[in-house]
């Protein structure tokens, strides 16, 4: 190590301060561990704050046929049956308790006439299931957890700190290395166990609802430390992002607009979702709605700026709209000059969420590297090929808690201060500092240019519709950009230097982009968010596997891994979904679902 650096010690290091990180930190601290939460931004600004619709939980406060079993079935069917069924099982059972727990910690929810928690309809959920407060449920959730965490003994927060590498001792993760954004000082954190709760990645695409933070640092760091990533090909396009004005392009328009009755129309005024999904219509799953909008635009029935009209004005009174969708009213008024209680919105697909991530054990969130856990969007398995709206806020609560508890156990059983090798620290330091000191002359590369070129490659060639040809083009581009990224150079110093910070982000995005593209090439079928023009149908064999990425000999390898099928006594649960179609059941589950009971529903 050529320069001094701060050192921190803790039992459990939580990377990320969104809902999953905060819930994990509360669990770890309650288990008696000193817990350090590291956040790239200020506390309370994480992506959770953007979640609008609500938390899906089978409370059955409005629709009595609902239950955790129906929630299980909807989530499995939405994920095209390649979810980890055990994660879905734990999730649908436990999310109910997590909602009540949040309420007991001071979180607010809208109420029914009886004073119970109100629930709203959402895409591909059989019943009214999303617990919400207005259209700002994510803000409510993060503020409640933030306050709970701050007042839980044993927790500490380090804000505006970027971590660049996981440190290992033997085969085990023992901490992380990074820098403080506001001073540029280097920092080494030694920890008994690490929870990766760093969220997803969307910034490698041009049009995304993700903030600058969504660069995939967590997945990239875990991959580099030897962890397996899974389902990386599945990147969710939210069907409704803003498309005009240009600066607002990609900003999320909540699905709650459709949950509250809004409908999509094309330029001819047709409610086109009736054609694509006659049963669920505008509240079909996100992959289906996004593709439908794309197809309408391709067919020449798009809006002036190349999207669809989203109409709530003709479906609800102005007063209702202002009450139920206040932040949407405000967003369109401020950014687009559109009054959504009078006029339709113009919307189009935007990169929103990543179903893939770090491969984890369903019970504990343990990754394939000892000492490293993952939860929330950074982890894979719960959502399969497509996430249902409302299942991410539940995910972070259920699996944040589980990962926090398991990491605490692991840290306690370890004992003693982990050693950190000087060689690892020296390498980590060199990597971080290089863009500020690299002497390259004419060969220097601008990180913003590399980022822009990556966004173009990913948006155009690995976006909503893909083919072998386009994906190979993207892979070549990533290879070339990775080579150029070795020569990034920025001016300025180390105090709050966005150019320097971008260099780090670009490296993470390149690693994660490569994983997305390699898995998308391997999955030669269309399923959920993966839409292959050259393989438009599902493939029976591929419905029984996940693709896993890991590093072998410095190169990225993709491997097909058989997924654990649902046990025979679980398969019949699928029939509890209102959207269950026996004819669509894959062959390996055929005959395991009894004939439908006409009395059901």
């Amino acid at each position: 190590m050529s320069e001094s650096y701060q050192t921190r010690d803790c039992d459990v290091l939580v990377i990320g301060a969104g809902g999953a990180g905060l819930r994990a930190a509360i669990a770890a601290a309650q288990a008696g561990c000193s817990t350090l939460v590291v956040s790239k931004s200020l506390l309370g600004k994480a992506h959770t704050v953007m979640a609008e619709g609500g938390i899906a939980a089978g409370l059955a406060n409005l629709d009595t046929p609902d239950s955790w079993e129906v929630h299980f079935a909807d989530t499995m069917l939405g994920g095209q049956l390649i979810n980890n069924w055990r994660m879905v099982d734990l999730y649908s059972r436990e999310v109910i308790d997590r909602v009540y727990e949040l309420e007991r910690w001071g979180g607010l929810f809208d109420r029914t006439d009886d004073g119970l928690i109100m629930q709203r309809a959402f895409g591909a959920h059989s019943w009214k299931r999303l617990c919400h407060v207005g259209d700002r449920t994510g803000l409510e959730l993060i503020r409640t957890l933030q306050d709970k965490m701050v007042h839980t003994a044993g927790t500490e927060v380090l804000m505006e700190c970027t971590l660049t590498r996981l440190l290992t001792h033997g085969d085990r993760v023992c901490g992380a290395f990074g820098y403080l954004r506001n001073t540029g000082e280097l920092i080494v954190i030694r920890a008994g166990a690490v929870v990766m709760a760093s969220g997803g990645w969307g910034r490698m695409f041009r049009f995304t609802s993700n903030s600058w933070e969504g660069t995939g640092d967590g997945a990239a760091m875990a991959y580099e430390a030897g962890a397996e990533l899974q389902d990386m090909e599945f990147v969710q396009f939210h069907p409704t992002g803003m498309i005009w004005p240009p600066g607002a392009r990609g900003i999320l328009v909540t699905e709650a607009v459709r949950g509250e009755g809004g409908i999509l129309r094309n330029s001819e005024g047709e409610r086109f979702m009736e054609r694509y999904d006659p049963v669920k219509k505008d509240l079909s799953s996100r992959d289906v709605v996004a593709r439908s909008i794309y197809k309408e635009v391709q067919a020449g029935r798009g809006t002036p700026h190349g999207g669809a009209f989203l109409d709530i004005a003709s479906r609800r009174s102005a007063a209702d709209i202002r009450k139920r969708l206040p932040s949407m009213v405000d967003q369109f008024e401020a950014l687009a000059g559109v009054d959504i209680s009078k006029e339709p919105m113009e919307v189009g697909p935007t990169i929103h969420y990543t179903m893939g991530g770090i491969r984890v054990d369903p019970e504990t969130g343990a990754s394939t590297v000892p000492g490293l856990y993952a939860a929330g969007e950074a982890a894979a398995g719960l959502h399969g090929a497509n996430r249902l709206g409302g299942n991410s806020l539940g995910d972070i609560l259920v699996f944040g808690r589980r990962a926090g508890e398991a990491a605490a156990e692991s840290a306690k059983s370890r004992g003693g201060k982990p050693a950190v090798s000087a060689k690892q620290l020296a390498d980590a330091e060199t990597d971080v500092i290089l863009p500020l000191v690299h002497d390259l002359g004419e060969k220097a590369e601008n990180p913003y240019v590399i980022h822009r070129d990556l966004q173009e490659a990913m948006q155009d060639d690995a976006g909503i519709g893909r083919s072998e040809e386009s994906l190979n083009r993207a892979l070549n581009a990533i290879g070339e950009l990775t080579e150029r990224s070795q020569r990034m150079r920025v001016g300025g110093g180390r105090v709050l230097n966005p150019g320097w910070h971008t260099c780090r982000d670009v490296l993470s995005m390149l690693t994660v982009s490569e994983a997305i593209v390699r898995c998308a090439i391997a999955r030669r079928e269309s399923r959920g968010s993966q839409w292959r023009f050259d393989f438009p149908e599902k493939d029976a064999h591929l419905g029984q596997v996940n693709f896993v990425v890991h590093r072998r000999g410095g190169a990225m390898k993709v491997e097909e891994r058989a997924l654990e099928p649902m046990p025979d006594d679980v398969v019949p649960r699928l029939a509890r979904s209102r959207f269950f179609d026996p004819a669509a059941l894959p062959a390996h589950y055929a005959g395991k679902v009894p004939a439908p009971d006409p009395e059901a529903h």
């Binding site: 931004s41 600004k45 704050v49 004073g115 709970k148 240009p246 950014l335 990180p447 105090v495 150019g499």
Partner: protein, 290 residues
């Protein structure tokens, strides 16, 4: 691409030796370029170094917000210009700054709503400067730790029944996105520098959301009067004016709290009751007047 760089003599931090190839390309139908440019005067510098304003001509795009212009400068002219931002949709409260002297969120301030002429962007004045547009807002997080958290009666069974009317009243306070513009504009902080003895509008809103929650059993009135410095507020409503979430901070949080504190300490009837009971204000007592 419009806009020559104006390199003012007062521009701080050298741009260093990094490459400076343009990032944003020529106009396309989707780029929405209006053909005009915006003059952005943006504060640059850090304590102990040179400080001043750098002026940039930024190509104007339809519907452009101030944050878009700052990002354009970062990408194309000065990769070392620091600003905070996250969601760019008015939901996280990160990009607080003072535009033409007014505390605003840069992501919600459209250039076409500002008077013609240069647009001046400065960091929030009431917080210590770190660099360029970024200030040290950590004291807010320290203040929050002083406020006892939401606390329900342990035997209050699940599920709770709460009326929507109560939620609606609390929801206004809970909308706060912690942009700290109210803390910035408040003259108790800004002019009198009393932040060490004054929670400030953001945290009066926070306390109000706890005190008015029908299931919370604590009483934070003494805290408000003493450590909170509630009495310093003389209800000039500057906080309400700058709130990007339109929270009626003064009317719906501060004044009701002032009334509760006055009830606890100055109401003659309550004074007599306390004398007869032989106790001062304590936890739990406040629940009666909710």
């Amino acid at each position: 691409m419009a806009g020559a760089i104006s390199q003012p003599s007062d521009a701080a931090s050298p741009r260093g030796t990094g490459p400076s190839s343009p990032v944003d390309g020529p106009p396309t139908p989707e780029s929405g370029l209006t053909g005009k440019s915006v003059t952005l005067r943006v504060f640059k510098g850090q304590p102990g170094g040179e400080m001043g304003y750098a002026t940039h001509e930024v190509p104007e795009v339809t519907g452009m917000v101030v944050l878009d212009a700052v990002h354009w400068v970062q990408r194309n002219r000065d990769s070392d210009l620091a600003c905070r931002w996250n969601c760019k949709a008015g939901k996280c409260g990160s990009c607080s700054a003072e535009v033409n002297g007014h505390p605003v969120l840069m992501c919600k301030t459209r250039i076409d709503t500002l008077p013609s002429g240069p647009v001046t962007v400065q960091p929030m004045k009431s917080f210590p400067l770190i660099k360029d547009l970024v200030t040290d807002v950590s004291r807010n997080y320290e203040t929050n730790k002083l406020i006892p958290p939401f606390t329900a009666a342990p035997d209050d069974g699940t599920p709770w029944r709460i009326q929507q009317m109560d939620i609606d009243r609390l929801y206004e306070h809970r909308r706060c996105i912690e942009c700290f513009l109210c803390q910035d504009v408040c003259h108790v902080n800004r002019t009198h520098d009393l932040s060490a003895r004054f929670f400030g509008p953001r945290f009066f809103v926070r306390v109000a959301s706890l005190e008015m929650h029908p299931k919370d059993i604590l009483d934070r009135r003494d805290l408000l009067r003493d450590a909170g410095g509630l009495g310093y507020c003389n209800i000039t409503k500057c906080c309400t004016e700058v709130c990007p979430e339109d929270i009626h901070i003064t009317d719906n949080a501060i004044i009701p709290l002032k009334e509760r504190v006055a009830d606890a300490h100055w109401d003659p009837v309550q004074w007599v009751v306390r004398k007869l009971r032989g106790s001062s204000t304590k936890a739990g007592e406040g629940a009666a007047d909710r």
